[in-house]
């Protein structure tokens, strides 16, 4: 499945990547599948997006097609559709 992935306030990923938004093709259908494959193919994504148990880290918020954040219970299992735009976002503290 091919989706658009955007990383907001995640410079640890976007700096080596050189961009905030990528087209990404992955095997599977869920957010968890996407995150796992990002973790294996995008530099630093594993450290930032995935917790030690392999699930999407709770520090990361997820938005699909600009809608409200994905609720906790759907963070791993949410089924994506071809062409979806997925945003991973981190809270920023710098003042």
């Amino acid at each position: 499945m091919k989706v658009t992935v955007e990383f907001l306030s995640l410079p640890l990923i976007t700096q080596p990547l050189g961009t905030k938004k990528i087209e990404f093709e992955f095997q599977g259908s869920t957010l968890s599948d996407l995150a796992r494959e990002l973790g294996s193919k995008v530099k630093r994504a594993k450290d930032v997006l995935l917790a030690s148990d392999g699930a999407i880290d709770h520090d990361i918020q997820i938005y699909i097609n600009g809608a409200d954040q994905v609720p906790d219970e759907e963070r791993q299992s949410k089924v994506l559709s071809e062409g979806d735009a997925i945003t991973f976002m981190m809270l920023v503290a710098g003042g």
Binding site: S9, L10, L12, D59, L91, V92, G94, G95
Partner: protein, 309 residues
């Protein structure tokens, strides 16, 4: 060509411009969709009283700002000045700019008062204030009522750093009446590229003292309160006390969550601000008004180190 006398010019303007009586204008002012009342008098005249909901712009500046003030050239506008003469010329100028529905109030504000129609009789703003804030008072979203609310507002800004520098200067300059600045740091030269409230002279000084000095110059009438303390769970509620809203320009999650939680408890609106590199985040959290809190979205502070500050 012979120069025209003022009387001739007035006659010509009167022939071109439609006038409206104060009684008719008053009746229209009560409509669900009233015309825009444009007050073109001097600030000291406005300070003494004005027609309710009027928009203010000095007569000689109307043409310059017309496109912003009156974006709809079809919208009904009633122009008024002191006695109904200058408004004729300004109305004529607007008509020549393509405004289709501009009328001048016969007899001006004086006639309105003499007819006994309702006015806002005390703007509570001085001539100097009306002048200082004139560019935002002319914004219909602000107006005199909005300016009065700003002057009455008590804002606590935490962090006199990158975010706090810009925010505090704008808040003070725009007339926020009471502005608290909290920080617990000293100015270093490496701050100066972005923390524009401080300057080279201030390197080594406490940030709060440096910020207050700059803010006093930006707006001498603002009531500025310096809080040169580290904010802790023990003092946070005391520090918040007396302020209406908190702007958080602090630079760490621990302070941000502490301030957020204290605002949650105190029922005050909390404005989050965070920046890193070329990205920034800002959000208002005000659960007392029905919205979500920060912890509804990020239940616990993110792990330090994942996000550079």
């Amino acid at each position: 060509m012979e120069d025209k006398s003022p009387r001739q010019l007035l006659e010509e303007a009167r022939a071109e411009v439609e006038e409206i009586s104060v009684d008719e204008a008053y009746r229209l002012s009560l409509d669900d969709a009233p015309p825009i009342f444009l007050d073109i008098r001097e600030p000291e005249q406005v300070a003494a009283g004005y027609i309710k909901n009027a928009v203010f712009i000095r007569g000689d500046e109307v043409e310059m700002h017309a496109r912003h003030l009156l974006p709809d050239k079809e919208a009904p506008v009633v122009l008024y000045c002191g006695e109904g003469v200058r408004s004729l010329f300004t109305a004529l100028a607007l008509k020549e700019m393509g405004y289709k529905n501009v009328r001048a109030l016969t007899g001006g504000f004086k006639a309105w008062v003499e007819a006994g129609h309702e006015i806002e009789s005390n703007s509570l703003l001085t001539r100097e204030q009306l002048n200082h804030y004139s560019r935002q008072i002319i914004l219909r979203e602000v107006g005199i009522e909005g300016q009065k609310r700003l002057l009455a507002a008590k804002v606590l800004l935490v962090g006199a750093g990158g975010l706090g520098s810009s925010a505090s200067l704008y808040l003070a300059a725009s007339g926020v009446g009471t502005l608290g600045i909290a920080d617990y740091d000293t100015v270093s030269a490496s701050n100066l590229n972005r923390q524009i409230i401080h300057a080279y002279d201030n390197v080594g000084e406490r940030k709060v003292a440096s910020a207050l000095e700059t803010l006093r110059r930006a707006n001498p009438e603002a009531n500025l309160i310096g809080i040169d303390k580290r904010i802790t769970p023990d003092n946070v509620l005391d520090i918040l006390n007396g302020f209406d809203i908190v702007l958080d320009g602090s630079d760490n999650f621990a302070t941000k969550y502490l301030l957020h939680d204290a605002c949650f408890v105190a029922g005050k609106p909390y404005v989050y601000g965070g920046a890193t590199r070329f990205e920034g985040q800002a959000s208002l959290f005000y659960p007392a008004a029905g919205g979500p809190c920060l912890r509804c979205i990020w239940p616990t502070p993110p792990t330090d180190g994942l996000v550079p500050t």
